[in-house]
């Protein structure tokens, strides 16, 4: 009986998170387009519904109804698999992200996280590293030179930045003394880690943008050189899955930044979940702002930044944090 209730709660949590994620992703797209539009002195979408509020719906309908084209020379199975990998990977990360303290419902204490893994952080990395496959396989399976180049770029870029992404979080783990995301949030009860780890935050933020392939790191889909990069040959809902993956990733990294550096769901006055959402949105808007401001990096600059700036910086940061921890005790 008990495990059945637990199971039911789990299913409900899964459903709520999934729906929330998808809705948020849809409106993040709108937000990005509107915000980007204003940054560029344009309106952004404003035709579908008031202020373009129905634009996500229109986009969804469009993507669902468009013809799903599979190139004749493509590797059919992998071609169909790749977008699913991307979308699934992005959605799965949220399984360990706590979006609030536990609530008590009908006398039962329900933690607001789908599952609290003791290696939660490693789980996040494991899934993030699998996201590469969607890009690389999609690019390869399309059998198109643009897609292939996009896929290669994507693989190289994501594998490079994963390193700095991981290293940037080591000090956080050292501070929190746990891989569990719940523990990390709890460890920020007094102050958010961004105050003590600004370098770490910076490295993580930059690496996260590179991992999500957002401007200025969108080399795998650089439209003016590669068409649309690894998803050049995709259309309809398969393209939609890539698209969805990208915006869910945006939220994921917003949530991770909130968890690792901004104290998770903590905040005054408002309910924790709202605070969590606000933090995600702030990070997202920051990323959009960056997109609206910075030009795309050159490939060698990208590698240079990853390997020669961020990785050494992250290592130094680890050593420094270690020293400080040793001294403080």
């Amino acid at each position: 009986m008990d495990w059945m209730i637990g199971f039911a709660i789990l299913i409900v949590k899964l459903g709520v998170v999934l729906v929330g994620l998808l809705l948020l992703a849809a409106y993040l797209v709108l937000l990005e387009r509107k915000f980007l539009g204003r940054l560029q002195i344009r309106y952004g979408p404003n035709r579908a519904g008031k202020f373009g509020l129905l634009q996500p719906l229109a986009d969804t309908i469009k993507m669902l109804t468009k013809e799903d084209i599979v190139p004749e020379a493509a590797d059919r199975v992998l071609f169909l698999l790749a977008p699913a990998v991307v979308a699934a990977e992005a959605l799965l990360i949220f399984a360990v992200v706590p979006f609030g303290a536990s609530v008590t419902l009908l006398g039962k204490k329900i933690p607001l996280v789908i599952t609290d893994l003791n290696v939660g952080l490693l789980y996040v990395f494991a899934l993030a590293s699998l996201g590469v496959y969607g890009v690389a396989l999609g690019g390869w399976a399309s059998n198109s030179k643009y897609s292939l180049l996009g896929g290669i770029r994507g693989a190289a870029q994501m594998i490079s930045y994963e390193l700095s992404l991981g290293l940037s979080l080591v000090p956080i783990v050292m501070l929190a003394r746990s891989f569990s995301l719940l523990d990390i949030v709890r460890a920020q009860a007094h102050y958010p880690f961004i105050l003590v780890q600004p370098v770490s935050f910076m490295i993580f933020f930059i690496s996260a943008m590179a991992e999500t392939k957002r401007i200025p790191f969108d080399l795998p889909e650089a439209e003016n050189e590669l068409g649309a990069g690894y998803h050049t040959e995709y259309s309809g809902m398969r393209f939609g899955l890539f698209f969805l993956g990208e915006y869910v990733n945006l939220q994921v990294f917003g949530a991770l930044v909130a968890v690792f550096f901004l104290g998770g769901w903590r905040g005054p006055f408002l309910p924790p979940v709202v605070w969590f959402l606000i933090k995600i949105l702030v990070i997202s808007i920051l990323m959009i702002w960056v997109r609206g401001t910075l030009p795309r990096l050159r490939y060698d600059q990208l590698m240079h930044l990853g390997w020669k700036v961020l990785v050494p910086l992250a290592l130094l940061n680890i050593v420094a944090t270690g020293f400080v921890l040793l001294i403080i005790g």
């Binding site: 992998l78 893994l117 003791n118 396989l137 390869w140 693989a155 994963e162 991981g166």
Partner: protein, 175 residues
């Protein structure tokens, strides 16, 4: 048989099938994809055997890094599908004999060793415990291994650089 036993056999089956497919595919990318599935299964086995840290590391390092590296190289070099090597009898015979001996010995060892019949119990090595154990008993080995990694890094960099330099020289010669 417990649930864990069933999980083991299923995972073992998946791993064996995936690996079998991986080593026989002509298309290297397909091999890689099957291998990733195999490593995923291995990661789950690690978890089953009470090593969650290793499970995560298996995915991060094997599936997330090593296989991506392979995929990257395959895509970059545009490797065509390759055939299986057709061994001659002279090559095949010693290999076959040695293989048979290996199999015989393996079966002998596995069946005769009474300890091998023990049914394993579930256990869990928490990352904290594991880390403490590692850095208390084997910190020197960890350092040595990290040196090994550093050397590998330098070596790989050198191999990449050496070619570029040589290529540059060739270009100068041509012009």
């Amino acid at each position: 048989m417990t649930v864990y036993g069933a999980v083991f056999y299923i995972l073992a089956g998946v791993i064996l099938i995936a690996t079998g497919l991986a080593i026989t595919r002509r298309n290297l990318v397909h091999s890689i994809v099957y291998l990733v599935i195999s490593f995923f299964g291995s990661a789950m086995l690690y978890y089953l055997f009470g090593a969650p840290l290793l499970a995560a590391l298996e995915i991060i390092i094997y599936a997330g890094a090593i296989m991506v590296l392979f995929l990257f190289i395959i895509m970059m070099l545009r490797v065509e599908p390759s055939a299986l090597r057709k061994p001659t009898l002279r090559q095949w015979l010693p290999a076959g004999v040695l293989g048979l001996i290996y199999v015989a010995v393996a079966i002998l060892v596995v069946t005769t060793d009474p300890g091998s019949q023990t049914i394993l119990e579930t256990a869990l090595a928490r990352p904290r415990v594991f880390g403490r154990f590692l850095f208390q008993r084997y910190w020197l080995s960890v350092e040595i291994v990290s040196f090994l990694l550093l050397i590998a890094l330098v070596g790989a960099l050198y191999l990449g650089k050496a070619f570029v330099k040589e290529g540059g020289d060739q270009k100068e010669d041509q012009s």
